[in-house]
Amino acid sequence: MAEIICGARPAREINAEIRRAIAAGDREIIVQDPGARHNLGVAILEPVRIRFVGSVGYYCAGLIDGPRVEIDQSAGWGLAESMMSGEVIVRGSAGNGAAAAIRGGTVVIHGDAAARLGVSMKGGTVLVAGRCGYMAGFMGQKGRLVVCGDAGDAFADSMYETVCYVGGRIEGLGTDAVIERPSADEAAWLDSTLAQYLPGARRRGEDFQKVLAGRKLWNFDKREWKVWQEAL
């Protein structure tokens, strides 16, 4: 195990030290005092465990493939953006664009997520114990997005095949979003996934609303003129 003390050093030096530790064979790295610095733990491509003891800034764990990254407090914008695989666990809340464009892996947020959660996600799973802000799931392509609390306005706008589940109230659906009841299999998946990652959420899978694309924006068609007029 390696322990890295951030002190007054810039992110570039801290990231370099993380990479040196991985190259030296360390599989568990604890980063003390991250001080909400931006760009920590970017592009880590090995199946290591990295724990940030504190809060992190923008793009923490962005562009990763494989590691498990834990953040003891909160995260800034673009958490885990474009990750390909691995796990990112935030004990606090996350800023704008968490899990944006992820292609795989799991992002877990124990607090709330701000606007644009999971926008353009292309795979993977996003789990939020609290609520999410405006425009979550916008243009989601694949993957699953789960919000245990309330969802903000323009939820699930203009999606392709991402499937969303909301445990609380939805302030407003986005263009072309439709609500269904989760199937028994989906409810079971929610139960087991939440039990694994967010046991404190205390939500039953069958109580979630499922939100997916109505597919009226998938092809440019005058029969759906009203939907296209409203599309963001």
């Binding site: 970017v42 923008y58 562009l63 474009s82 704008n96 944006a100 392709y160 092809n219 068609d221 005058k222």
Partner: protein, 436 residues
Amino acid sequence: MSDVLQTSGTFQPAVIDDIQAKAASGLYRIRGWGTLRERRWATFDDLTFLPCSLTRIPLEGYREKCSTKTVLGTRFAKKPIQLDVPVMITGMSWGALSYNAKVALARGARTAGSSNTTGDGGMLMAERENSRTLIYEVLPSRYGINIHHMRMADAIELTIGQGAKPGTGGLLLGSKVSDVIAKQRDLPVGVDQRSPARHPDFLGPDDMIIKVEELREATDWQVPIFIKMGASRVFDDVKLAAKAGADVIVVDGMEGGTGASPAILQEHTGIPTLAAVCEARAALEDIGLYGEVQLIMAGGIRDGVDAAKALALGADAVYIGTAALIALNCNRPLYIEDYRALGTEPHHCHHCHTGRCPVGITTQDPELVKRLDIDEGAERVTNLLRAMTLEMQMLARACGKSDVHHLEPEDMAALSMEASAVCGIPLAGTRRIFGR
């Protein structure tokens, strides 16, 4: 009453056709290629070079060297890219273009000592394998985003917009979203794919500073970071991109091409490439970064003359897109019946959006793709890049320059008052710069 057929200046045939098409469809029109408007704005054609006579001494074309070496990304990157020629292949996606077209462009650029760029669909491995210098685009859609591919690249291009349709995202109609393209982009097969206009994880220029730093961290600060934008408020946008930490700024003028876009965006948004290069240079000079941040101009560059004029006005290199596709046989009179099936003719085709490209460039139909021979296409691309470079050298030598990058505004005169005003160059026959 005259027997001469008269055409309305307001409701010209193309306008009548447009109204009738919208009346039938209820939708705005989508097409490819780029603007079809008559060029009534100042263009590179409104400038002429002033070769040496008595006030300057020309270089001998046969004996004296004129360098075309081009180095980009000297500001922060550890490994700036080094090209043999200042003409590069712009980003065009695998999806908009066929596999054969992408590979031919890569191979053609490699042989000419130039670069090629991925596009809005991620990297094609064969593209990397056939490239010498590959620029990896990071676009708002993030289709196919892959950190491993990014780390194979020689430069990263963070794309904010493109000249044909600034302010909007990409578009790939369902006829081109084949099984393989859908898989590459994580999309359902056959959807009319719309890309977001904004990046998913930053909004404004202040956030972009941090984004650029993230890309540097992801690539170990090795490779240059380009920021590309469509030409709109160029003077301010270039300064913001430079402030965000760009090594290289790409400005794509309104003459730039596209595989598909609402037609009105191609016709009525953005500013011309000539105006854009002048604004971009002025912006970099204004903040003291001209020369430190390199500038690439794009948008309707056709030949070595356009490229030389762009360099003289302040660019370090140019991108070509449509011209490179024309080298691959775009609009060439082959398979004429297939052009006619699209309702067009060779030299008039702008039907890239249909996916029925008669010459196998902008299609995913396997039978059409076969019509583009990769080796032959690559050779034609190499030839075009080399011919353009020779043209640039010829003009530079005639102006007494031993390096094409030494061309400067003083080497030209304006042929119209508009060009004089835009470029700050005296109108030919006068010593007057209009508007000043």
